[in-house]
Assembly symmetry: C2
Homo-oligomer: 205 residues x 2
């Protein structure tokens, strides 16, 4: 039986999994299932597979539901015979997992900004909330700039997540002009985002 | 050199790490450093170690900064010679990681409820935001109830996170009365939370 992936075309966390599947050739074994989710109108269609009602959620070939994006990607990494995107152990593993956590953190902050602006009614929006999240994103970008050299080379779950996070900033927070203060990061992203796996999973215009 | 853990006494994610350290005997090798964090007043003291300015953040013996709680706990699991809390592979690993993700998701939702009620000024609070997060928590509790038997037995990162999540509901959302519809889960939590590692890390009254 094929695996099944609940995703939304605009979700950056779902995109991590979709890029991962394309990069490892596992996309052929996964049936994608597009779905709409919202933090204030939980999608009960998802609840039986993932009570948090979030995407991505993967149904494995034996019917087990897995989430979130970190768990799904690590699981998928055991299913292919190519080079692994999760280094097995040692400093390379902790660097990749820390970078994944850093870039998931950028995404958490950016998604909260998005919900504040696009989901919450205007009269309940609070500018300090947005400012606090944007400060986290700016500090994380500066940190990534300092370690941009470590993103070069073979793709890992760390660099894959970094590229998904930067692309999401272009998609939802273009007014940040994130490239302005991080030239090395911007240069790296330009190369990475040219990969077919990124083109094929670009968010809707 | 000792490791150093930035934590806040009220943080449930930091508590995961503190319980983990006590359960594995690694607390002797970790110097705890209490710190205050807020989503709208990012603590710049933390920024050099963790640009997301969140706890927990661990500084390893060689000076590397690691975050978030998942990455720290998995790293710590490589440093002790006892039984591992992260199953090495196979269905046991995916079950433990999925349960960790489920209970981290409960915590994310509960922390967002907390921020909504205690950080955001009253005139900007939006009841539908809270309702949406509470619906996720309720569905996750119902799912955990159905698999409560799998939480029995030796502690894993999944059951450890479940206990931290349930304790946080007692701490910050007591009005939920989460035990009411989940008797098996409540019974299991009663036993688990009697462990010295949980007593020693209880949130401030």
């Amino acid at each position: 039986m094929k695996m099944k992936l609940h995703y939304s075309p605009a979700s950056p966390f779902a995109r991590k999994v979709r890029v991962f599947a394309l990069e490892t050739g596992l996309d052929r074994d996964i049936e994608p299932h597009a779905i709409t989710v919202s933090p204030v109108n939980p999608n009960s269609e998802l609840a039986s597979d993932n009570p948090l009602m979030k995407v991505p959620t993967l149904i494995t070939a034996d019917g087990t539901a897995l989430f979130d994006s970190r768990v799904i990607c690590e699981y998928l990494d055991t299913l292919h015979s190519g080079r692994k995107l999760f280094p097995a152990n040692g400093p390379a593993r902790w660097q990749a997992l820390r970078q994944q956590a850093l870039c998931d953190g950028i995404l958490d902050a950016a998604v909260l900004c998005r919900y504040e602006a696009a989901v919450r009614p205007e009269q309940f929006q609070w500018s300090e909330w947005r400012s606090g999240q944007l400060a986290k994103i700016a500090a994380a970008l500066a940190a990534l700039e300092r370690e941009a050299a470590s993103l070069e080379g073979e793709l890992t779950i760390g660099s894959l997540t970094a590229a998904c996070a930067l692309s999401y900033l272009d998609f939802r927070l273009p007014e940040m002009k994130w490239r302005d203060n991080v030239p090395a990061l911007a240069h790296w992203f330009g190369k990475l985002s040219a990969r077919p796996s990124f083109h094929a999973t670009a968010p809707p215009v």
